[in-house]
């Protein structure tokens, strides 16, 4: 086999089932490439020796009926992994080793996958460039000193650089789709309630969802099939009938109606993005689907709403990191002093900024004006989608307002950083599924993605649309291994 790491997930599985490749060979290849790619800074913690041992065990008694037989997979360091350090990209969990496994990752190991390592991310998934990680920024394999997007930046970079065949990220406001778009990969955020949040370090509970990131749509469908499960350990998990996403995948989308929301033509959007969108529309038409102009009038309120709801929940979710029970502790004169030192030294600037915003909007006297109002607007945004879904089956938008930017370019301007999520955030607020697929490149040669937004629980339709578009787009990522 010339280069194992370039194979897609489905190709690897085929080779394993055909006994052309062993789990050990595959695992070794990804480890070797990962070892040579340290410059990308994608791994926070590797699990290489354990992975090799697990691969060996798999090969001795291979179970080919499993969905991910002997496949090594690195995951975002927001998923708690039993016995393997889990940091959420934060100093405050620098030394934290969970004695338990997240439901999503457990589902993968149950299907034969092997943990390759834990991938870098923005601290507590707060960021759009992976620059807020305590463990340093991640390099985008597309080009030197480019951000890989965020918060699942380690995941998107590792995937694009072929350090892992697929990966899983989490998406609170775009943290799967935006980095996928920045790295020329596929990223899917499922309907809220599809994938269990049990064992995922929480950022904003009402928005967080885990999802697959992959080289192609078929791989995403398979991985989603593995991780999308009802879980009674998560009270917000929903027990709906899931499709067999991979076997039901079809490129026949004839007759589907795809909405184009007028409000996503935001001011100052680069012409390249506009052109990309047009390309996408033409491809959709080519596939035999119908284009319908739609209106989502409350879109402009999505970003401010998100930046109230998410920090509010985060300010409360992150209260447990207090130095008392686990994780980082800075000694203090007394309890309050210990709290202050621990949290001052344990959290980075962006996390502190959001805790402050969240604490403020929940304070008595401000609650009604901010949090309560944001919740009401959130309902309106959701209603916008409900309304248009009476007429269309899915919605096509750009994934991001730009391609990957330079490391450091936006670190001093949080608002411009937050604008990255303008197309992805409404999807989280409405709890809908969304997928980003690589569609083209800008004039710098950096990948750009389009987003397909679906009806609740209708991941199958957006996968099908993405699958048929993917065939026509035939996007190839231009990765030069510049870091080696």
């Amino acid at each position: 086999m010339s280069d194992i790491t370039k194979l897609s997930l489905n190709e690897l599985i085929k080779n394993i089932r055909n006994k052309k490749l062993s789990s050990t060979e595959i695992t070794n290849s990804f480890i070797e490439r990962s070892e040579k790619s340290k410059k990308l800074n994608t791994y926070v913690t590797d699990n290489f020796s354990n992975a090799l041992a697990a691969a060996k065990i798999f090969d001795e008694k291979p179970n080919m009926d499993l969905k991910l037989p002997g496949i090594p997979i690195a995951v975002k360091d927001l998923f708690c992994t039993n016995g393997v350090r889990t940091t959420a990209g934060s100093n405050i969990l620098n030394n934290f080793i969970p004695p338990y496994e997240s439901t999503v990752t457990q589902s993968m190991w149950d299907e034969g996958a092997i943990l390759l390592g834990k991938l870098n991310c923005d601290e507590f998934a707060m960021g759009s460039s992976n620059e807020t990680s305590f463990f340093g920024n991640v390099q985008n394999p597309i080009g030197e000193n480019l951000v890989p997007g965020g918060s699942s930046g380690g995941s998107s970079a590792a995937l694009a650089a072929n350090l892992t065949p697929v990966t899983i990220g989490t998406d609170t406001g775009g943290s799967i789709r935006q980095p996928a778009s920045f790295t020329g990969t596929v990223g899917l955020k499922p309907t809220y309630g599809s994938c269990s949040r049990y064992g995922i370090v929480a950022f904003a509970s009402s928005l967080d969802q885990a999802g697959p990131m992959s080289q192609n749509v078929k791989d995403a469908a398979l991985l989603l099939e593995v991780i999308s499960k009802f879980d009674n350990k998560d009270s917000t998990s929903i027990d709906f009938k899931r499709n067999k996403y991979s076997s039901e995948l079809t490129n026949n989308i004839k007759g589907l109606k795809i909405g184009i929301p007028n409000e996503y033509r935001v001011e100052g959007m680069p012409k390249e993005i506009e052109d990309l969108w047009k390309t996408g529309i033409e491809i959709i038409k080519d596939c035999g689907a119908e284009i319908v102009d739609i209106s989502l009038p409350n879109t402009k309120y999505a970003l401010p709403t998100y930046y109230i709801v998410a920090p509010a929940e985060a300010s409360s979710n992150l209260a447990r990191y207090d130095g008392v029970k686990y994780g980082f502790r800075s000694e203090g004169e007394n309890l309050i002093d210990m709290y202050e030192k621990t949290r001052s030294e344990g959290f980075g600037e962006e996390v502190k900024r959001r805790i402050l915003i969240g604490t403020y909007v929940l304070s008595s006297g401000y609650y009604d004006a901010y949090y309560l109002k944001a919740q009401k607007v959130r309902q309106l945004i959701k209603k916008d989608f409900d309304n248009v879904y009476n007429n269309v089956d899915a919605i096509l938008t750009p994934s991001t307002p730009s391609s990957a930017f330079k490391i450091g370019e936006k670190t001093d301007d949080p608002v411009s950083m937050y604008l990255n999520d303008i197309f992805t955030v409404p999807v989280n607020l409405a709890g809908l599924p969304g997928i980003s697929i690589p569609t083209g490149i800008d004039n710098k040669g950096f990948p750009l993605g389009l987003q397909i937004i679906g009806k609740p629980f209708d991941e199958q339709t957006i996968l099908n649309i993405a699958y048929s578009m993917e065939e026509k787009i035939n996007f190839k990522n231009d990765i030069t291994d510049w870091w080696m």
């Binding site: 969970p98 009270s235 300010s315 008392v324």
Partner: protein, 491 residues
């Protein structure tokens, strides 16, 4: 202390003015449940520190609360017992604050939308009934325990209680005296024990209360400024705290000073309340709906199923006891106030006389339980044996006096009264011939007294009865002795 309590009315008096005390209680009752409100950890009292703790209770990253359906049922049951509105939709909120024994950094509680709405509790006071309004009942998690006295420089934290389900039962400001508080707490506890929703054990902290106290001049319609006395864990301390606090407030008013709305602590050693924090320093808890939990929706079927499980409650039982057994309101109250007592009573009267049973339970048995500091469920005399004893009295086998002697013996190992009667030959002498012989003997030995009696000193009759009884070694049937003696003396 210038306290006056007449006709169950309670006032604090000063030279010119009379003050009424207004009290509202927030009772924290631990839900009787094998597992916690949002986790499956056990809730055993007195376990080794930090042995009843799950990853959820210790708030590990990514851990999520899952509601315990049994605790919801218990809250609804209690709501039914309080004749309260069951809210079909309620919401769990996060109450945010930092403390070492609060692992999540927030307590999951219910704020704007509690599971139970308005209800009432009927108090049986010495001078009649009084209704106390219930404002709401909501479910919340307990915190852990900080232990400051093990080590001079460190605080220890025990998370066994962390996440244990509590019901906070908020009364309206309808209570007017320490005695009403006493009766109210006991009634509340009685209802919950009947329902099996809270064991009401104050020593183990299963029942504690925040006490809101204000005072106003007699006749005033408006409430005064209230102070909240936090976390008082016995009825006696509640009463002491109320009396201290009400007098403190009255003194302030008398001196023309303002009462500050504040949270106070009761110092049980000094018998005084002192300021904990002022209104200005009050925590901003930043309540908001817990996004980890969906709104709690309860169906009509769920509620009606629970209604089917509700046992007869003290108020209804009392009515039945009065109607069916002809008990006085006072007797019925005593018998129903504790579920186990009522259960014991009903077991005894299954096969024996109600009147005798009432007297024996509230008399002899209560005295023994009191003396030995025992609950009736641990009674040294079983209901079955007490029932037998009563039947022995009723059918004339033994006299009431002998019964008391036998009862003394029964206490030691729950002995069968019939066995004691047989072994000790305590069977009542009811043979008229045998009694007549004894009577003849007494008359013969007391000729002068007989003369006195016959010449009109009726009171001496008791003396003869006593002498005959003595001759019978206490076993003589008193009714028969009376009868024969009368015939002999008057004949």
């Amino acid at each position: 202390m210038d306290v006056m309590a007449k006709n169950n009315q309670f006032f604090i008096e000063r030279e010119q003015n009379k003050y009424e005390v207004v009290i509202g209680l927030e009772v924290h009752a631990q839900v009787t449940s094998d597992s916690k409100l949002f986790s499956s950890s056990p809730t055993k009292f007195g376990a080794e520190p930090n042995t009843q703790v799950s990853l959820v209770d210790a708030a590990f990253p990514g851990m999520l609360p899952v509601i315990n359906e049994f605790c919801i049922k218990q809250a609804i049951k209690t709501g039914i017992g309080l004749k309260a509105k069951i809210n079909k939709k309620s919401i769990f909120d996060r109450k945010n604050y930092f403390y070492a024994d609060l692992p999540q950094g927030y307590q999951i509680s219910q704020y704007k939308y509690p599971i139970i709405g308005e209800g009432k509790v009927i108090l049986d006071m010495a001078d009649g009934q009084k209704e106390i309004g219930i404002e709401r009942l909501h479910l919340e998690q307990d915190a852990g325990k900080s232990i400051h006295d093990i080590d001079p420089t460190n605080t220890f934290v025990d998370l066994n209680r962390s996440g244990v389900a509590l019901m906070e039962i908020v009364s309206k400001p309808d209570l007017r005296s320490p005695e009403e508080v006493n009766i109210y707490i006991k009634k509340l506890r009685s209802i919950m024990r009947y329902l099996g929703t809270c064991d009401g054990n104050m020593q183990e902290g299963s029942l504690r209360a925040d006490v809101n106290v204000s005072v106003r001049r007699q006749g005033d319609d408006n409430f005064g400024t209230r102070c909240e006395i936090k976390n008082v864990n016995s009825i006696k301390f509640m009463q002491m705290a109320i009396i201290y606090e009400a007098n403190r407030q009255v003194d302030l008013i008398e001196e023309g000073k303002n009462i500050d709305q504040e949270t106070r602590l009761f110092d049980t050693k000094k018998n005084e309340t002192r300021s904990m924090r002022s209104k200005e320093d009050a925590h901003d808890y930043r309540y908001f709906p817990d996004p980890d939990l969906l709104p709690l929706e309860i169906s009509d079927e769920f509620i009606s199923k629970i209604k089917d499980e509700i046992p007869e409650l003290p108020d209804e039982k009392k009515k039945r006891f009065i109607d069916k057994f002809n008990l006085s309101s006072y007797e019925a109250n005593i018998l129903v106030s504790d579920f186990d007592t009522s259960k014991y009573f009903e077991e005894v009267i299954k096969n024996s006389d109600v009147k005798l049973a009432t007297n024996w339970i509230t008399g002899e048995l209560f005295a023994v339980l009191n003396e030995k500091n025992l609950e009736i469920s641990k009674s040294p005399v079983s209901s079955n044996n007490l029932s037998k004893l009563i039947n022995l009295i009723k059918d004339g086998t033994i006299s009431g006096k002998i019964a008391k002697t036998i009862f003394e013996e029964m206490i030691d190992g729950d002995k069968d009264p019939q066995t004691i009667v047989d072994q000790k030959g305590l069977k009542q002498e009811s043979d008229p011939k045998a009694l007549e012989e004894l009577i003849n003997k007494v008359i013969k030995n007391n000729t002068s007294k007989v003369e006195e009696y016959k010449s009109g000193k009726d009171k001496l009759f008791g003396f003869f009865v006593g002498q005959v009884m003595k001759e019978s070694k206490g076993k003589g049937n008193p009714q028969l002795i009376n009868k024969i003696l009368k015939e002999k003396l008057n004949g």
